[in-house]
């Protein structure tokens, strides 16, 4: 299984009986074989509780379940698609950036306030991500959308990486994030360099950054 990149904006997934796939509703472009698409009212995995959790967290992007046997092409809005393979670690990503992911992955929501306290909440507000983010854990592949292509920056304990919140796409691994501010008197008088807020990611893992400062 897994995703195969057809070009930079399209991925192909192979569906086999007994193996589920979740994708953003309406992201199917074409399919071959016997494949069924069922809207997922619960917006993902888990029971009623996680559905309520997602509603509250505003991370309930409409998803659909893809089942059957065949191949499916996914793409959405002409955005660049990046396939990330997970092997047991956790990927943090915004729900609206998720294009498709394998059913073997555990979906959950994370409260940003739990990482970094009050600054974590401020971080969510500043980066326009809200207070919650979606996590995917386990073995499998995820297809993530970004504007203008993605590049990966490795994070090592010696080298923390700073990212513009608007260009941040996703991160995986054992990474702590916090909002670092470089606010000075210049920003107060409107003479800022436009880089007043940055996400500081430290630990070990990788961060995915898009080549643009536009949200999806």
């Amino acid at each position: 299984m897994g995703f195969r990149e057809i070009n930079s904006k399209m991925v192909e997934a192979t569906v086999m009986p007994g193996q589920k796939l979740f994708s953003q509703r309406g992201a199917m472009l074409a399919y071959k074989g016997e494949v069924s698409f069922t809207p997922n009212t619960r917006g993902g995995q888990g029971g009623i509780m996680s559905m309520i959790g997602r509603r509250v967290a505003n991370e309930d992007t409409p998803l659909m379940t893809v089942e059957g046997s065949g191949t499916v092409l996914f793409g959405h809005g002409g955005h660049h698609v990046q396939v990330i393979n997970l092997s047991g670690d956790t990927l943090c990503v915004e729900a609206d950036r998720l294009l498709a992911f394998e059913g073997t992955l555990q979906q959950g929501t994370m409260f940003l306030g739990s990482q970094g306290g009050v600054m974590g909440m401020v971080r969510g507000q500043v980066s326009g991500q809200g207070l919650f983010t979606t996590t995917l854990k386990g073995q499998g592949a995820v297809a993530v959308m970004a504007h203008g292509g993605v590049f990966e920056i490795p994070i090592t304990p010696q080298r923390p990486v700073h990212v513009d919140p608007q260009a941040y796409v996703a991160h995986h691994g054992d990474v702590r994030n916090k909002l670092s501010t470089a606010l000075g008197w210049r920003d107060m008088v409107g003479r800022g360099s436009g880089e007043a807020f940055q996400l500081e990611l430290s630990g070990s893992g990788a961060v995915y950054v898009q080549a643009s400062e536009e949200k999806l």
């Binding site: 203008g148 292509g149 590049f151 513009d164 360099s193 436009g194 950054v209 080549a211």
Partner: protein, 210 residues
């Protein structure tokens, strides 16, 4: 040192030196970096006033530190230009980053600027070092030599460097006045010796409408 990561991201490795970049174009960095806005493009009071008057304002920041800094601008394609004492003419909106050692200034473009749809003035970059310019789609670099002059659509022109003379050429005829023009009423003609950067997309210009 400037290097491209893919075609849309510029990575700059710095060891205590500085670069000038478009305000807010940093997407990520590692190591230690300092960002400072330079009013008036870092050209002093005179440059600041000139830029205000000419409408070639650019908000530039100075990035200084140790490590790698990544820049990108709305997913547009990036082209690296290396300058050896010659002069690069580019629109301020198309200039992403320059080495701190390069001097920037403004110059009058005359009628050509108006036909390009971006004003009567343009930005110049000169000195020794590298600059990064952005274009809508991958730009082609066309060489102009004395035997081979080049004519470019004003809306697709991005930048030029070298010893070039430019003139505005008009193809306005009786048909254009009747509203039957081919949409290519004006062109810029380059003569001399140098390079012209052309993007595969056209800005909205007056010339494109007639």
């Amino acid at each position: 040192m400037f290097r491209l990561q893919g075609s849309k991201v510029l990575a700059v490795d710095m060891t205590g030196d500085a670069v000038k970049a478009k305000n807010g174009s940093m997407v990520a960095y590692d190591g230690q970096m300092d960002f400072k806005k330079m009013s008036g493009g870092g050209e002093g009071i005179r440059g600041m006033v000139t830029r205000r008057l000419t409408g070639e304002q650019m908000t530039v920041m100075e990035v200084k530190g140790h490590g790698t800094c990544w820049f990108a601008d709305r997913a547009s394609e990036i082209n690296l230009v290396s300058l050896q004492g010659d002069k690069l003419y580019v629109e301020s909106s198309n200039l992403l980053a320059t080495d701190a050692g390069l001097r920037t200034g403004t110059s009058f473009t005359g009628l050509r600027g108006a036909s390009q749809g971006n004003g009567l003035f343009t930005t110049t970059v000169e000195g020794h070092g590298q600059a990064a310019i952005v274009s809508d789609g991958p730009a082609v670099v066309l060489r102009v030599s004395s035997q081979y002059p080049l004519t470019v659509d004003p809306g697709a022109y991005v930048a030029h460097q070298g010893n070039l003379r430019q003139s505005l050429q008009s193809g306005v005829t009786f048909r254009t006045l009747m509203g039957e023009g081919g949409g290519e009423a004006f062109q810029i003609r380059f003569e001399g010796d140098g390079l012209v950067y052309v993007q595969p997309s056209e800005r909205n210009t007056i010339a494109g409408d007639v």
